[in-house]
Each structure stands twice: as structure tokens, then as C-alpha cells.
């Protein structure tokens, strides 16, 4: 399986799979498949990385936000 990370949507708090190479650093907004919210990776409520590490991006962690 290609590497993926699981961000948790800041709005509905549900996690989904995102392709690491395509989207981890692409700077585009992800689409929550459950509620349709669009958000940057750094705006996720939490992120489960492909290596199993879970972390919570800080509020305003995204540069320029």
C-alpha cells in the first residue's frame, strides 16, 4: 500500500486516508469525505502519520495563518 497519513477533520472530527507523497506537503486543501470541509493539513484536528506517530498541529501552525 502506498504510504498514507490520517488527518482528523477539524469540523466533524472524523479521520480519513490521505496519500503521503501527493498531499503531505502539497499545500492544497484536503477534502473531508464525511462532511465536505476543506482544510489544510496543518489545520487538522490531529494527524496520524504513516509511521504510527500521532500529533496535534497547534492552532495557527500553518505559516501565514
Amino acid at each position: 500500500m502506498v504510504k498514507h497519513f490520517d488527518p482528523t477533520c477539524p469540523k466533524c472530527k472524523q479521520a480519513f486516508h490521505v496519500h503521503h507523497e501527493d498531499l503531505r506537503n502539497a499545500g492544497v486543501k484536503l477534502l473531508c469525505p464525511y462532511c465536505g470541509e476543506r482544510f489544510h493539513v496543518e489545520e487538522a484536528d490531529s494527524i496520524l502519520e504513516h509511521d504510527g506517530r500521532r500529533w496535534k498541529p497547534g492552532a495557527g501552525a500553518r505559516a501565514g495563518q
Binding site: V2, F16, H17, P33
Partner: protein
């Protein structure tokens, strides 16, 4: 005069090879194979797949015709929805014109025979093409009028999951493949491609900064889709191969968007024409994929829809991806090809089966009438080398029916010593969607030799004397 009649007769017989012909045959000859659902259902609200999953839980796999599905606007769609067509090998046999009883090795071998042949397509005038009965272009198109299915919980949108066709800009051959198409708007779809044939075609257009023409054949005779899954190399014209699979030339008609430069199947129920703009990528997915697990959200291509053409009373078609509908469809094209390749080296091969338990791809059961120790491994290595989907190969003796999984597991239980009969091969090209793979590309493959050794004694299988069994046929007691 007689010549004209003959031509008319040929034309009549050709025109009958469409989806309706198949549905009628299944309803007539396959009791229980077709389930009609007359209630209103919301395909984009998981209601179609909920019914299919509940049937599956009861071990039922009928082809299901939803007569009143709602479209994405919440209205009863003008298009009935047909799904789960391929969830039974019996129906796949019927799709190739075989008898329902020929659904095992006969089916895969017939597929293999037809895959080796080509039949040139036949061009029709626009007026004679059923798929041109309704033509919509530009702002007339609204994909929300279709009963597009949202399949699984993590899918972000409804998906059209039938076959886009692309045409190679250099050689001119058409390539057909099952690719997922995410609904994004009334005239916009997302499209996912793995680095296979359509991906190569799209890449060529992108390198020239040109849009890639694409035609999604949303609904057609099942033999069309079985043919689409052929394992032929890049460069083979799939329209010719599909003609061979259907047993008649595929009838084509010029597209609305590109005219004779891109022909579309005339007997399809519905086609969508569009262009993939070069260099454009948007988020797409996740999507519940063929292994029964989700593929992740990605940056993928989009399709700007240019035309929608269909029969007046078109039937919309869908595959229940990640379930038996998807697995049987994937297995049949590979079984016949693998059988032929193995036979070239191990002439005593009896049958090859890719079972549903292995998603019709990852597990491969091969039976051989072994004459020499080591033949079993040769057969397994050919299967592994021939098809990158195949991950685990079980080789069994000729007394084991590879289509009967209980028998295969019995051989595994009684004829395998793991330290002697199991081989592990690391760092082989795998499939990016196989969830246990911990590398993007590389996987580990396994050969399980569940055959008896030739050069030493081995416990014989128990048997009740055949002559006594024949005297006591159970029909007398049942």
C-alpha cells in the same frame, strides 16, 4: 435481393448484443439471478450498496435492477440502475454466450481463446446508433440527472466506476480500463489512474500540453466490460479485442466532440465524452477499492464533460467495487491467460483459479498432475511472473479442485510442511492498493506447494469404494 436480406439479418443479430438482450436472457434462463427492486432508493446515500451488502451477508449475489433510483437532484431518475452483474461466474459465462454450467474452467479458457483473437469494429451512421438517441452537449448536460452511486462510508462523493476509453495519440489504438470517476459537478468529474495503459496515453497528451480525450462507457453488454479487463500489452486495440469477446464486431459511431477521430460504442446504453486538461490536478478520494479497503485521497486529474449521449430509455450501470462483483470480474481474464502460460512449461496443469477470498487477484490456486518434483514450483513462478496482482500461489495435485476452496485448504493442511514447502520471495513488484504492503511498490510473494512428493511414499487419501457408491445413489433417498 438475397444479399441485402443477408446483410439485414446480420445487422439484426448484431444489434441484439446489447445489455437488454443479456438482462432478458438472465431473467429467462437464470432463476434467482435477477432481483428487481421497485422501491425508490438513494444511490448517493449508500442505499444501493446497503441492499447489496445485506444480500451479501445472506450469501446472495443476484444482479440487481433498481427500477426507481433517485438521481443526485433527489428526483426519480429516468435511468434504472443495474449493478452486481458480475458477482456470479454463472452470469459471466452467460455474458460470453456459454451455458450457466460452463462457469468454471470452461469460462476462463473461453475468455483466453477470445482474448487471443481480434475482430475489427464496424462503423455505423449516427442515425443507426442507439447511443445517439439522446444527445446533450455543453450546458444541456447535468450529471446530477444520473443515479450515481456512493459506495462506501469514506467515499467523499458518488462515483461512476465503469470504463473510460482513451486513444493513443501515436499509434491510434483505443484502450479501455475500469477507472474510478468522482462526481465533482454537473459537468466535471475526477479521474484516478494508476501507471498503466490509460495513464501512458494521458501522459503523452500532457507532454504535448494537449487535453486528453476520454469517453466513459457507462453502460453496455457485460461482454464489453469483461473484454475491457484483458491483460494484453500496451498497443493492443481494445475495441478489436472487445469485438472478439462479444463474438461480433463492436459497432462504433463518431463521437460528438471529436467526430471520426474518436469513435464510441454505438450499442452502449450511455457514454460521457470529456477532456482531461493538461497539468490540472485536484484532490480526489479516498475511495473504497478492489481489495475491500480504501485507497487514500490523492491529487488526480479532472474531466471536463463535453457531451452525454444515451438511449432514450438507457439503463445506468455500476460495479459494487471491493466486493464479489469486482472480484469475479477481475479473476476471469487472468485465469485463462495464466493457464495457457503455465501449460507451456507444465503441460499437466489442470486448472487455475483466482478465488473471491483473494479478491480475485492476490491468491492463485493451481492444480497440476505432477509427474516430476519441482514442477509445482515452476507453475507457481510463472503465475507470479506473469501477473503482478498475484501474491500467494497455492499449487495442488490433480485430485484437488481449485474451484473448491475447502479442498485447497485440506491439501494445505495435510500436504504442507512449512519449512519445506513454503517459499518466500521478497522485493517483487506488487500493487499499490494492496493494504499489507509496507512499500509503495515492492511486495513479498509466497509459494505454497501443497502437492504430494513424487519420489517418496505419501499417505493416500481415504476413499469409499467407487463401485459401491455407484450402487447407492442418493437420489433414492432424497
Amino acid at each position: 435481393m438475397s444479399r441485402l436480406k443477408l446483410e439485414q439479418r446480420q445487422d439484426e443479430s448484431l444489434s441484439t448484443h446489447d445489455l437488454r438482450d443479456f438482462i432478458a436472457r438472465v431473467e429467462k434462463e437464470g432463476p434467482g439471478e435477477l432481483l428487481r427492486i421497485r422501491d425508490e432508493v438513494r444511490p448517493d446515500g449508500f442505499e444501493v450498496t446497503a441492499i447489496l451488502a445485506n444480500l451479501e451477508e445472506r450469501g446472495r449475489y443476484p444482479m440487481v435492477l433498481f427500477e426507481r433510483p433517485l438521481n443526485l437532484l433527489g428526483e426519480v431518475s429516468a435511468f434504472p440502475l443495474l449493478t452486481n452483474v458480475y458477482a456470479s461466474r454463472t452470469r459471466c459465462a452467460m455474458a460470453l454466450g456459454l451455458t450457466p454450467q460452463q462457469h468454471r474452467l470452461d469460462l476462463s479458457m473461453e475468455y483466453s481463446r477470445r482474448e487471443a483473437r481480434r475482430l475489427a469494429p464496424l462503423a455505423l451512421e449516427r442515425e443507426a446508433a442507439p447511443v445517439k438517441q439522446v444527445v446533450k452537449t455543453g450546458l444541456q448536460i447535468d450529471l446530477r440527472e444520473l443515479p450515481i452511486v456512493r459506495h462506501h462510508k469514506m467515499d467523499p462523493a458518488p462515483y461512476i466506476d465503469m470504463t473510460p476509453v482513451m486513444r493513443d495519440p501515436d499509434q491510434g489504438q483505443y484502450n479501455i480500463a475500469f477507472l474510478r470517476n468522482m462526481y465533482k459537478g454537473p459537468r466535471r468529474l475526477g479521474i484516478h489512474m494508476s501507471p498503466r495503459h490509460n495513464w501512458q496515453i494521458c501522459r503523452k497528451y500532457e507532454e504535448r500540453n494537449l487535453p486528453t480525450p476520454v469517453v466513459i462507457v457507462v453502460s453496455h453488454h457485460p461482454a464489453f466490460y469483461l473484454g475491457a479487463l484483458n491483460v494484453s500489452p500496451f498497443g493492443v486495440d481494445d475495441y478489436e479485442l472487445v469485438g472478439s469477446m462479444m463474438g461480433q464486431p463492436l459497432r462504433l459511431v463518431p463521437s460528438e466532440t471529436w467526430g471520426k477521430d474518436f469513435m464510441v460504442p454505438a450499442d452502449a446504453e450511455m457514454v460521457i465524452e470529456g477532456e482531461i486538461p493538461p497539468g490540472v490536478r485536484e484532490v480526489e478520494g479516498p475511495f473504497g477499492e478492489f481489495p475491500g479497503t480504501y485507497g487514500p485521497q490523492r491529487l488526480r486529474w479532472v474531466i471536463d464533460v463535453k457531451a452525454l449521449t444515451h438511449r432514450r430509455d438507457a439503463i445506468y450501470q455500476d460495479v459494487f467495487v471491493g466486493h464479489r462483483d469486482n472480484w469475479v470480474l477481475g479473476a476471469i481474464p487472468k485465469e485463462g491467460t495464466l493457464f495457457n502460460r503455465i501449460k507451456g512449461v507444465v503441460p499437466t496443469v489442470k486448472a487455475v483459479h483466482l478465488p473471491n477470498s483473494g479478491t480475485g487477484r492476490f491468491n492463485c490456486y493451481i492444480s497440476i498432475d505432477k509427474k516430476v518434483d519441482g514442477e509445482s514450483k515452476q507453475a507457481a513462478l510463472i503465475a507470479l511472473g506473469e501477473c503482478d496482482f498475484v501474491k500467494n500461489v497455492f499449487v495442488v495435485d490433480a485430485d484437488i479442485d481449485p474451484f473448491d476452496e475447502e479442498q485447497v485448504m485440506w491439501a494445505f493442511a495435510t500436504r504442507v510442511q512449512a519449512d519445506q514447502d513454503v517459499d518466500i520471495i521478497k522485493n517483487v513488484k506488487g500493487n499499490t492498493l494492496e493494504p499489507s504492503q509496507n512499500d509503495d511498490i515492492l511486495t513479498t510473494k509466497m509459494i505454497i506447494d501443497a502437492t504430494k512428493p513424487v519420489r517418496r511414499t505419501f499417505a493416500s487419501r481415504v476413499e469409499v469404494p467407487k463401485e459401491v457408491r455407484e450402487k447407492f445413489r442418493v437420489e433414492r433417498y432424497l
